[in-house]
Symmetry: C2
Subunit: 226 residues, 2 copies
Amino acid sequence: MAPPSLDLTQDTRHRLLEAALLVFAEKGYDGAGIREIAQRAQANSALVTYHFGGKEGLYREALRSIHDRKVSAVAGLPPPPEPGDPGARETAIQGMKDYIRAFVTDLMSCPAESEVDAAAMALIGREIQMPHPVSAPVLVEFARPYMERVLALLRILCPGEDDEARLRATLSIQGQILHFRNSLGFIRLLSGDPEFPKDLEALIQHFIAFSLRGLGLPEAFPPPRS
Amino acid sequence: MAPPSLDLTQDTRHRLLEAALLVFAEKGYDGAGIREIAQRAQANSALVTYHFGGKEGLYREALRSIHDRKVSAVAGLPPPPEPGDPGARETAIQGMKDYIRAFVTDLMSCPAESEVDAAAMALIGREIQMPHPVSAPVLVEFARPYMERVLALLRILCPGEDDEARLRATLSIQGQILHFRNSLGFIRLLSGDPEFPKDLEALIQHFIAFSLRGLGLPEAFPPPRS
DNA sequence: TTGACTGAATCAAACGATTGATTAATATTG
DNA sequence: CAATATTAATCAATCGTTTGATTCAGTCAA
């Protein structure tokens, strides 16, 4: 294993944050040691206490730093239509398609692009499933925009349902995608196909079709072609 | 925190396994210590090595023991129909409804029933997302029957799709449910409703309707009432 | 000189593992 | 049957290692 040193032109604090993302994502909070993190950042382990007040502070700041790492594709989407707008329903259907594509894109920024970004998303996925006590506030702030957007779209697409039904639908839409992302390693192990999924665009189309049909929108049924 | 002692009439080996499920589920492999596990089992920590060869062996055996803890509701289902059977399609639709209900039941054996069973399912969920190297074989064996059943049903319900499309559909069906189970704590935090979901039967009906419609089965669309 | 920063050395605490002694139950023998 | 040998199970004590945290002499730009 070659020593995977990070960009030394960045200041030490920043290098520590990136190394922390990598190691925490790979080994979890308890499994990661500040010595290993410091070594990856080519820094001294004492700097963890100096810059962040300790391992916990480093973890919290590393999670926070994910916000700044990349502009979310979802954040760049136009705001969802209001219930009164003309053509709100058609706009909302297109908005849902765009959202699902952006959500998958956000989550699958996978290793090709940036090793650190991929680690950041893996960390987020892990934290959603089992939040570390320290990370809960950061995590809620991170996830809320995603949640709110889908709920806003569903208020137009499923006006007859109650709030809990819309929450269930939101969770089904995001859950299938999040589970796919979080357990991809296991899925590859189980299916015996180490390079699944071969076709990312087909995957996005599947999520769009499955979700729109799942919501029971007559416009989306059948067939799945759209 | 009262000392949560386990049933002392069971032999020590069994008590250690149950305590291991509780502590590993709560803190993960690295976060859990054999001292704490032994203390919960009211046993000596040296017995971990004596009975299981070490912490790793205890972890492996604890995961294995989940098989024996409770008979899976899915395992009790009748076998899925063969593609040639008369009325195979109707049988398969009903089979999918029964499967989803049984799957949710398996996963949500939540704390009311047995604290240890709930911990066991939490551990499975954690392992699916980030498998410990030691646990991969046990985990694959655990998950395969669930996977195979859905794929068998989809071979009847979606005969036109290719294998990868059916795998995607399987993952969407199971993913929404697994994600729901795994991140329930986070969802309650995010939605601000600490007792979500209030209605388990409505949740099951939602998963059934969302999945059948998502698959694009004309019989299931619309409306979701079935 | 001062203040920000560095890093080798070190700390107490917790870790998993091992030891040797002890008990209790079973098997073997006289 | 009684005495002895064998084995599995359990224990307190301790091993060496690793952990996160701390110290402190030293560097370097302002």
